[in-house]
Amino acid sequence: MSDTMDNFIGLSAVLTGFASSILAPGLDPVNIKAEYLPFFTAKVAAESGNPQLVDSIFAKYASLAAQQLSDQQIGTAMLDPANGADFVLACRKLIFMWYSGAWPTLIPASASAPASTVSDLISAKSYTCGLAWQVMQSHPMGDSNYRYGYWNSQPPALNDYTGQQGA
């Protein structure tokens, strides 16, 4: 795996709160990361008009990661407004992309409506890979691998879905 992919997954794990082993399992027949990285790279470049922005995001992440900081510290540093609005927005859109499988467009508040978000699904596969379904301890609507009656009992623990350690 390339350094770029390493940084992409590492940053994604910090920002989403999901373990990299969930975002990019070592044995990964689904391989959504291979779809997301080029998509994210192209979108951020197009929307910011700055083809170097993604590189600078990954570089910043790599330098923070090398400092043995906590996830919380890295995430806070990545989302610091001092990084610039485009930088932070790209990081936030990265979170949204992983959770929804879609790319968001933010609609600013107007006189008649508060701020809101619309989004375009990236692919059929990305819909089924959305972390939103995992964070709710469920499955994508229309794509369940559970068996009859599972809805009558408690789901597995949240950490089983996020891949995080702990109780």
Binding site: D71, R92, I95, L121, S138, S144
Partner: protein, 662 residues
């Protein structure tokens, strides 16, 4: 008159048409079905793929023709809705509701809003809120599966409560339908719990013994209830009463498999609407396949019935004209006339009256076939829906299991029906997906610091409860990492939703007509729809629903998040006016559609005020029958499909009887 080739020609291959086709085919009768839309695919992967990719996962989203095309989006058409004038078999979709004033995006044409109305005027017209499919297998592709029987009093609303109309014969009609209900339960393959339904039937004195027919039971045990159901099924809720009726839960009889059989056992994909990926849920393609397997049933797809020919002397139907096409936006590829001994219209409650009204070239029926009463297209009804949503105090693990597994049926009948519409309450297992497009809206709120769902701001509900999910976080928080995980999880697993199916009365001015200006790509007129919620009787149903929701949520310790809709905007640009908003007694309401389109070719006791007799046979044309919920004189208090199936089975017997007599 040419020699009939078939015993029966059917227009439409949904559940009603498929059932009649199967019943006749198995008796050796030759049947031809004309289906306006695409064939039943061998594999539902194509539909699933379209569903997975659809940005708006509406009930119609998996099915052809495309309901949305992001690559065709423009500022005027952000969803990329197709222009119905370019389509050969367009249909109304819920994405068109917001575009109801724009015929370039909306299949239905609507008359102008009458001038000088206020938001609470009963004369305000709305967008119709329910949709249907025009494909092989029809609208059961996206039905929920709820398979409830109607109550006897549903058939005597006028006699018992002084509202609407009775079904022809009233009680007698109901009694005759009971054995067909039993048969319909088997045809659909319903999972249900007789014991628990008996409780309900005893409450409503359906019969002295509490039984609902001599052999009544379900082919499969009930689908197990959900943790969401269990959160409602607590004493604080089940000790409530509403207008004298007790509140309790009933497991919903459902047309999906609790055990494996010809179909797979339900695996809880939480996607009955729009599409069950594994066909654990019944759809009419099952019966259509059985019909074709008899060897006596033929189906022609992409054949749009365009005109019914009537003999000037006998008033018998002598043929149905159709136009065929190959590509949905391509040119017509042919046309013809099919003939049979008997004819059956089964094209649901919008397209059937439209076909009758289009058939206006017959000398003695200038207002359309079967329309001497003038009732064709009138009395358009739906279950108008009130939605209420909230967060349970403890996790209920929403978004799991079939979309709904239980309901509150105990409020469907009672003396209150003299005063207001009755309703049943559907308990949703899909969190705020329908109500608020979750998980995506709440996700955006906490990633981008927005507050669309009131969980991340300063909103307070009418009960005075602050709605910010985590009071320790500032308003408009933008989260990441563990805090985002915990917040989203805490919200999603607590989401609950109630849906009220409010009985709408027949109103002759709620109607389907032919658009004077708009056509589809075959040149056929599109429906013009006039739709109001005119009676205080119905609006008082909303008031009750709103109040009961709040009581239930309070009783179970949940926090209510139902958004108060904006005030109606009746006049202005097409993209400025509201579609389904109204005011009543100072409150703003919005209504949703249940997808239960009914009433537009109703049965009745009299030729003067109904289209069909109690045999679902045209008063005007002895060899013309119609099935589907369009025959319903009232929408009643249960989801219509089981009744549609029972009536179709009954109609099949009538047709067989008439064929034998001929």
């Amino acid at each position: 008159m040419s020699n009939p080739t078939y015993d029966l020609v059917i227009v439409g291959s949904g559940i009603a048409g498929a059932i009649v086709a199967h019943q006749l085919g198995r008796q050796g009768k030759k049947v031809l079905i004309l289906e306006a839309g695409a064939p039943v695919p061998v594999d539902r992967s194509g539909y699933m793929q379209t569903f997975f990719k659809a940005n708006a996962k509406t009930p119609e989203s998996p099915y052809p023709p495309t309901t949305q095309n992001p690559t065709a989006a423009t500022p005027d058409n952000p969803l990329g809705l197709p222009d119905p004038a370019t389509e050969n078999a367009p249909r109304y979709t819920v994405l068109q509701i917001g575009a109801w004033r724009n015929p370039k995006q909306c299949y239905f044409d609507y008359p102008p809003q009458p001038p000088y109305l206020k938001g609470d005027s009963p004369e305000v017209t709305f967008a119709f809120a329910s949709s249907y499919e025009r494909i092989g297998g029809g609208t059961t592709w996206h039905w929920l599966g709820t398979s409830l029987r109607l109550f006897p009093t549903d058939f005597t609303l006028k006699t018992t409560y002084g509202h609407g109309v009775d079904w022809p014969g009233g009680q007698t009609f109901y009694q005759a339908l009971v054995p067909y209900y039993e048969k319909a339960t088997d045809v659909i393959g319903v999972s249900g719990d007789k014991t628990q339904l008996d409780t309900l039937y005893t409450q409503f004195k359906v019969s002295p013994s509490g039984q609902y027919g001599p052999d009544y039971d379900y082919p499969m045990p009930a689908i197990v209830d959900s943790l969401v159901d269990q959160a409602f099924d607590v004493p604080a809720v089940t000790t409530l009463t509403v207008d004298g009726n007790p509140v309790y839960l009933t497991p919903t009889p459902q047309g999906r498999n609790s055990l494996p059989g010809d179909r797979r056992q339900c695996a809880g994909n939480t996607n009955c609407i729009p599409i069950c990926p594994i066909q654990a849920k019944y759809d009419a393609t099952v019966t259509l396949g059985d019909a074709l397997q008899t060897g006596n049933v033929e189906i022609r797809y992409r054949c749009v019935a365009s005109n019914i020919r009537v003999d000037d002397d006998t008033a018998e139907v002598v043929g149905i004209d159709y136009i065929s096409y190959d590509e949905h936006t391509g040119d017509a590829t042919g046309s013809g006339t099919v003939t049979a001994s008997k004819y059956l219209l089964a094209a649901h409650a919008i397209e059937t009256p439209k076909l009758l009204l289009m058939s206006n070239k017959n000398k003695n029926f200038p207002n359309g076939v079967a329309n001497s009463s003038g009732q064709v297209g009138r009395n358009l009804m739906d279950h108008v829906m009130y939605l209420a949503w909230g967060l349970a105090k403890d996790p209920v693990y929403a978004f799991r299991g079939p979309l709904s597994t239980s309901g509150i049926e105990s409020l469907r009948d009672g003396a209150f029906r003299k005063n207001r519409s009755a309703y049943r309450i559907e308990i949703g297992n899909e969190g705020w997906q329908w109500a608020a497009n979750d998980p995506f809206t709440t996700l955006a709120d906490f990633v981008f610091g927005q507050d669309t769902n009131q969980l991340n701001g300063n909103a307070v509900n009418p009960q005075g409860q602050p709605l910010r999910f985590n009071p320790n976080l500032p308003a408009n928080s933008q989260l990441f990492g563990a805090q985002l995980v915990d917040t989203l999880n805490g919200i999603y697993v607590r989401q609950i939703r109630l849906g009220y199916l409010i009985e709408q009365l027949p109103d002759p001015d709620n109607r389907v007509e032919l658009s004077p200006t708009e056509t589809d790509h075959l040149g056929l007129p599109r429906p013009r729809v006039t739709y109001r919620i005119r009676q205080d009787y119905e609006r008082d149903g909303f008031v009750s629903a709103k109040q009961v929701s709040t009581e239930i949520f309070n009783a179970m310790g949940a926090t209510e998040y139902t958004r108060t809709p904006p005030a109606p905007v009746l006049y202005g640009a097409a993209d400025q006016v509201t579609a389904t908003n109204f005011q009543y007694q100072g409150n703003n309401f919005t209504f949703y559609g249940a997808g239960h389109i009914a009433g537009t070719y109703r049965m009745g006791d009299s030729k003067s005020d109904s289209v069909l007799n109690a045999r679902q046979q045209s008063w005007d044309h002895g060899n013309l029958y119609m099935v589907g919920s369009g025959v319903f004189p009232t929408i009643a208090t249960g989801n219509p499909t089981l009744t549609i199936a029972a009536l179709a089975l009954q109609a099949a017997d009538n047709i067989l009887q008439d064929l034998a007599a001929a």
